[in-house]
Every structure is written in C-alpha cells, then in structure tokens.
C-alpha cells in the first residue's frame, strides 16, 4: 500500500504520522518520489484499524491500496532520475580525479626512489667559476664549474637549517647560506658559521658536452 503525503507537509503532521506508524505492527518505509513524501506500507488489508487511522489522516492526500506498476512508475519523476544520474556522474568524476590529484600532491616522496643520471648543465653555457641552480627530484642542487673540465654538484640545502638554500658567491668562490651566515667552500666543506656537516656531494659525469649528476640511491 502506498500513501502519498500532501506537498505542504508540516513537521507536526510528520510526527503524528510517525505515531500512527508506531501503532502499526506492519513494516512501513518512507521514500520520496516526485517531490512528495511517500509511505510504503507492507500488508494490504485496509480494514486494520491502525492502517485506517493512518490512511484517514489529513496529511495523507492519496492512498493507493493496490498500486499498478504504471502508477508506481509515475511516482519516479524524470527529475528524480536526472538527480540520481547527475549525482552519480559527479561522484564518478570526483573519484576518477581523486587518484591522480593525490599522486600529484604527494610527488616528491614518491619519486625519491628514482635512479640514473640527471642532466644538470651544458658545459658551454656555464663559465668557469660560475654556478647554476637546479631542482632534482624536488631537492635543490647547485652545480659549480671549478675549472675547464671539473664540475662539482652539491646539495644546496644547508646542513644547519634545512629550510635554507645556499647561494654561490662567484667573487669569493664560496657558498653562502643567507639565513645564518654559514659559509662552505667549493667542495661543500664548512668554512665558517653554524653548519655542522659539509654539504652532500653528488658525483658528476661529463658526456657529449653535458654535465650529468648521478643520483644517490
């Protein structure tokens, strides 16, 4: 049995209906169809007093004691179907996007495991005594050309405070940390200031006029 509520159902009407339902010993289920609240009651004997009281309630507008499949189908409006379709599409899209976005947000740790050589400089683009900054796998690296065919690749993250990036001072041929005045020499050894350790050194390889940095595993 289907009972369709009036469209302007108030809260107190609803509570009254709930009391009627509580008096029923048959199962009843609320649904919403075509913008109306619909009460589905199992059991079709309309002579049951509790069911009669429910059906006679002024909040119930329309009672279908034996709904045909067509009548039931009419209660599903096109809008309901579109709502469901739209929500499903939205959820599916969001689900498909969530994975790639999660990976994107997490990239550096996931890519720490990379190995192989990284192109960090072109020999003819880097003058002797000059340096170039690179980001390799998310970490700052500085590549210095000591002389014609000698290159040094150092982690540019200061060993004193990891938030600071050291900079190359070409005139003094030293690396300076702007945060706490740490000074390193061209090989990354500490010259002065608070850094406790030398900078991490990476092996460099020269191939076909390019300088490659070997990743640490």
């Amino acid at each position: 049995m289907l009972m369709i509520c009036r469209p302007d159902l108030q809260k107190q009407d609803f509570h009254r209906l709930e009391e009627h339902i509580a008096a029923l010993d048959e199962s009843a289920r609320w649904t919403r169809r075509a913008g109306r609240l619909v009460l589905q009651v199992r059991g079709r004997d309309p002579e049951t007093p509790a069911l009669k009281a429910l059906a006679d309630d002024p909040a119930i507008e329309w009672v279908l004691s034996d709904p045909s499949p067509e009548e039931t189908a009419r209660l599903f409006s096109r809008r309901d179907l579109l709502d469901v379709a739209l929500a499903t599409t939205g959820l599916l899209t969001a689900g498909c996007l969530a994975g790639p976005i999660g990976l994107y947000l997490n990239a550096p740790p996931a890519y720490r495991g990379l190995h192989g050589d990284v192109l960090v400089a072109r020999i003819d683009a880097l003058p002797v005594g000059g340096a170039v900054s690179r980001i390799v796998d998310g970490d700052d690296v500085i590549v210095i050309r000591r002389n014609a065919d000698s290159f040094v690749a150092l982690s540019a993250t200061c060993t004193h405070s990891e938030a600071c990036v050291v900079e190359w001072d070409g005139a003094r041929r030293q690396l300076l940390c702007p945060c706490h005045r740490g000074v390193f020499d061209v090989f990354g050894n500490v010259v002065s200031g608070p850094p406790p350790r030398p900078l991490t050194t990476f092996e460099t390889v020269i191939r076909e006029g390019n300088v490659y940095m070997r990743r640490k595993r």
Partner: protein
Amino acid sequence: MSPKRPLGKARGEILGTRSRVRRLLNELGRVVITPRYKGIRWSSAVILLLLFVQLFTGVLLSLYYRPEPAAAHESMRFLVSSVPSGWLVRGMHHWAGDLLLVAVALHMTRVFMRRAYANPREFQWLVGVGLLLIVLAMRFTGSLLPWDGEGYAGALLGLKLVESVPLLGGLLAVWLRAGDVVGPDTLNRFFTTHALLLPWLVLALFGLHAVLVSRHGLSEDEP
C-alpha cells in the same frame, strides 16, 4: 521496520543547506538553460567552468612553482617531467586560459549583438568589461612565470603596451617591472599579481556580475 527519523532528514536535509543549494542550482540552471534557448547561451556556463578550472589548477601549480629567476624554469621542468600528472595540470592551466579568452570574446560579442548591455544592464556590461581587462592581465602576467624565452620576450613587448596606456601606463609599467628594467624582481611582481592580486579581483567582480544577472534577469527572457 519503521525508521524513526525527523522530517528534515528525509533526504539529506541538513541545516537547510539542501534547499539553499537547490535554489542556487536552479538559479544557475535558469541562466544556462531556458526553453527559449537561442544562440550561444552556454558561453556564461563555459566561462564559469573555466574559471573554476583555472582556480583549481592554479593552486595545484603553485605547490611546485618557485617564483625566483634561478628556480622558476627548473621548477616547471621538474613539474612536467617528474610529478605525476604534472604535464596535465600545467597544460590544463595553459589551455583553459586560452579558451577562457575565446569564451569571453564570444560572450561579449553575443551581448553586444543582442544589445543586452542596454538599460537596465549598463552596469553589468561595465563590470564585464572590467572582468575582460583582468582576464587579459592574468593572461599577460601568467605568460612570464615559466621564465623562458617566449615569456620573457612577451613580457618585454607587453610592458611596452602597458606603458602606452594614457596617464597611468608609465607608473603601472614601473610597478610591474619593479624598476626600470626587467629583472629578478619583475618575476616576483608578476607572480604576486597573477596568483594573489588578480584572482581576488576576478572573484569579487564575477560575484557582482552574477548578482546583477540574478537581479535583472536575462535579456532573452524579456518579450
């Protein structure tokens, strides 16, 4: 089985948000789709969608982008080559920016041809022109950010155009360059303008534009 639940929760009704969301969606739907559908009504919906795309991908890009001359180009290279979907996010931000300009041009052409700017919608049109200028400014400031040859040449040319604006042009160009020549600070100015200053202006003006549309309705709906 008789679930005892209050009426309000019958279908996702929490603190009345559902009805409010429904009303907002209806309002949006009214702008995008009407029975009297004629011409390119979708331009406003496409612009809204592209603005969301730009906002979203822009935030994602800013996670990896570094607005310093030494690192800017490298950070973009890292993003495209090593970050999963990095190429996609960058490409989306780039192409959605171009498409946004196309959509804005179509939208304005249509409003112009239909005389939809006429009374009582003059202010709406002016706000729209303001939005056009901001979108153009975002396109311009964004092009320098990858710090490559193309962006650099574009910025030099664009700053000349800015200089040619009467009265305020010179001041604006100096402010954008952070001096008399394009240098490291220029990149920072462009980044601040592109990512921090203009998005808020776009949101504010777009909100105003939407409120005005909602108040005056659409010119197509009039007899």
